[in-house]
């Protein structure tokens, strides 16, 4: 029966796509036109799997047939698994029907490389084109840029997709050479560079002509696998910083390596997924993108690894006690954002509220500040602020002693750089 065959394909091709962690469906501004189907704007997580990750897009591979043999990938050529491939129409039908039931925000389509890069990319583009032109579908589409695909196809992809991404796979070129000898980092950078320039060009065009078509309005992202190769957090974050700065990437995703294959180049099969480290990397990433931190403030030669037991902002703060205390009622918002326990929203509320009256510790707590961390680093209207002359290490111990970290049970150490 046809339904059974589709179910089997879906199971195989969703399972193979799940290690790509990109899930964003935000950042686009595609409107529903001419009473068509869907729109893409602010991003919605429609469900969450039992591992706590969000399900926002129908994330599938077009096929898991692949000519490459990358050690970390379940779909590698020499892995003995079931193979399957969707037809263009099958992907279109699944997307439309899932979307109409409000299961998803759109489609995330990736693929194993069959035949060659252009042949694969051409099929991905064809699906996006069909959804947009034949079905008037305005939901979110994220396409993988296949390394080595021609500029012409990349340009077409940008016409239909909201976001495009090329996975760098390993944080450094050396890591990639080790695990994916068939792949070449330059092949990944080329389409990224092409799209960057094209996006800049189209954005200029859009400023002049309002009717100019959208071109990848949600920009580009990439993913690096963490813990499969021995890079330090410093190398990972510096690489991320380089791509943010030079390729205008919207996001870099960090994917903790899940041991799926036995290979002497890889961590053993029973290795736990480095979930804490992954979480700390995302926190550091946020500090770089939204909190005005320079990558070297977070990791540097003296501090190449992120603390696993405390967050990177707190870690920075206790290494830089000379920057504190910060006066909540006077300091610039950029400085307030550097206080551990104060997030973006709290900082904005503080700056609004203090125009009316000076704020006390109680009020800060109500506003949403994590007082247990912030109180060592601020002065405010209350008299109960910290008076002792504490060292960074003291503060770390106090905070750890009174907090029940969700990570204490499964703290694990990083691979050491030998």
């Amino acid at each position: 029966m046809i339904a059974d065959r589709i179910t089997e394909k879906l199971n195989i091709l969703a399972d193979a796509a799940k290690y790509d962690v990109s899930c964003a469906s935000s950042g686009s501004k595609r409107k529903n036109e001419n009473k068509g189907l869907g729109n893409a704007s602010n991003g919605i997580c429609h469900s969450y799997t039992e591992d706590g990750r969000c399900v926002s897009l129908l994330k599938i591979l077009l096929t898991n047939h692949c000519i490459f043999d990358c050690a970390y990938c379940v779909s590698r050529k020499n892995n003995d698994i079931k193979r399957a491939a969707f037809t263009v129409q099958e992907v279109v039908d699944l997307t439309i029907n899932f979307y109409r039931r409000n299961y998803i925000e759109g489609l995330f389509l990736s693929s194993g490389i069959f035949k060659d890069a252009d042949y694969t990319m051409e099929r991905l583009v064809r699906i996006a084109k069909k959804l947009r032109t034949e079905h008037n579908f305005n939901g979110y589409i994220h396409l993988k840029s296949i390394p080595g695909a021609s500029d012409e196809l990349m340009r077409e992809a940008g016409m239909y997709a909201d976001r495009l991404s090329v996975n760098l796979e390993m944080p450094t070129e050396a890591g990639l050479k080790l695990l994916a000898p068939d792949k070449n980092r330059q092949d990944m950078i080329d389409p990224m560079n092409f799209l960057k320039n094209e996006i800049i060009l189209r954005t200029e065009e859009k400023k002049l002509f309002k009717k100019a078509p959208l071109f990848a309005p949600a920009g580009q992202s990439t993913q690096v696998i963490i813990g499969a190769t021995p890079e330090s957090d410093q190398q990972v974050l510096q690489s991320a910083n380089y791509f943010y700065k030079n390729f205008n990437l919207k996001r870099v995703y960090y994917s903790g390596y899940v041991p799926v294959l036995a290979d002497k180049r890889l961590p053993a099969l029973n290795t736990t997924v480095p979930m804490v480290r992954e979480n700390r990397l995302y926190q550091a990433d946020w500090l770089m993108r939204f909190y005005g931190f320079n990558v070297n403030e977070i990791v540097n030669n003296e501090q190449p690894l992120l603390d696993l037991d405390i967050d990177p902002k707190l870690s920075w703060a206790i290494r830089n006690m000379q920057a504190f205390p910060i006066d909540i009622n006077k300091a610039d918002i950029q400085l307030i954002l550097r206080v551990p326990g104060i997030g973006m929203l709290s900082a904005q509320k503080i700056v609004s509220a203090r125009k009316f009256a000076k704020l006390s510790l109680d009020q800060l707590k109500k506003i949403g500040v994590a007082i247990n961390r912030a109180r060592y680093f601020i002065v405010c209207k209350s008299n109960e602020f910290e008076r002792r002359d504490l060292t960074g290490q003291n503060i770390k111990q106090f905070i750890l002693a009174e907090s029940q970290s969700k990570y204490i049970r499964n703290t694990q150490s990083q691979l050491s750089l030998f």
Binding site: F98, K349, S352, L359
Partner: protein, 252 residues
């Protein structure tokens, strides 16, 4: 201490504010309910909703709040949270008692509480935008049953109307007994009679032919994308609390 009893409407609440100022009732408690005439509770004051008085209060608020501020006030009331009238009235009184616009004075307890209420309502609205699961019926209408914590259906219209412009749909709040119906042109509020169907969430007999197949595919997809090695039940439950499960196709 006086207890004001009002009819639960926004106009009623504004009328109550009018009474407070006119009769100088400064220690008051506002409750929603029906007024029963009884001499036993002398300090209970019934509020008779009066559009003219309500409009005067609203006009006063407009002078002192931004448009967004007025809207937030309206949303907070419409959500029908239990016993939050006093926070809303407290906020309004703080607005009138101040010389400047106080809507960002988060150091004030009423402003902060209103901000918390709005945050809860917005989260519930966002959850509904995520958790609505349409089921395609034989007449091509897409039907969904929901049970939101607060009354957020009116806030959903814009989102669903612009997204699903080319299909008929119904979102039905079982808890509050009303729904929104979009007929390809406009939306209207409706009330359905479920007497011949035992459970309003279950309309299986009216499913279109392919509905079962897509539900099955979606459940399969949901299972396939899970990474067992990363199991994190606590996080899972924080994102989808159990009370939402019975209307989620993938969790049934």
């Amino acid at each position: 201490m006086y207890t004001l009893v009002y009819d639960g409407t926004f106009e009623g609440l504004l009328t109550a504010v009018f009474e407070i100022y006119e009769r100088k009732l400064f220690h008051v408690k506002l409750i929603k309910g029906e007024w029963r005439s009884t001499a036993m509770f002398e300090e209970v004051v019934p509020v008779v909703t009066d559009d003219e008085r309500a409009n005067r209060v609203l006009a006063g608020l407009r002078k002192k709040l931004s448009r967004a501020g007025i809207q937030r006030l309206y949303i907070a009331h419409m959500a029908e949270m239990e016993n939050e009238e006093n926070a809303i009235v407290g906020f309004i009184r703080y607005v009138f008692d101040s010389d400047q616009n106080i809507e960002e004075d988060y150091g004030n307890k009423y402003v902060m509480r209103l901000s918390e209420i709005i945050k809860m309502v917005r989260r519930e609205k966002h959850r509904m935008e995520a958790f609505v699961r349409f089921q395609k019926l034989k007449d091509e209408t897409f039907y969904s049953a929901v049970e939101p914590d607060f009354n957020v259906l009116p806030l959903l219209i814009r989102h669903f109307k612009s997204r699903y412009a080319d299909q008929k749909w119904i979102i039905y709040d079982i808890k509050r007994g009303y729904g929104i119906y979009y007929d390809l042109h406009d939306t209207q509020y409706i009330s359905l009679d479920f007497t011949d169907v035992k459970n309003a969430g279950n309309v299986i007999t009216a499913f279109s032919e392919d509905e079962g197949i897509y539900q099955h595919l979606w459940k399969n997809y949901f299972t396939s994308v899970n990474i067992v090695a990363r199991k994190n039940t606590k996080l899972h439950l924080r994102h989808i609390p159990k009370r939402y499960w019975r209307h989620l196709t993938e969790k049934i």
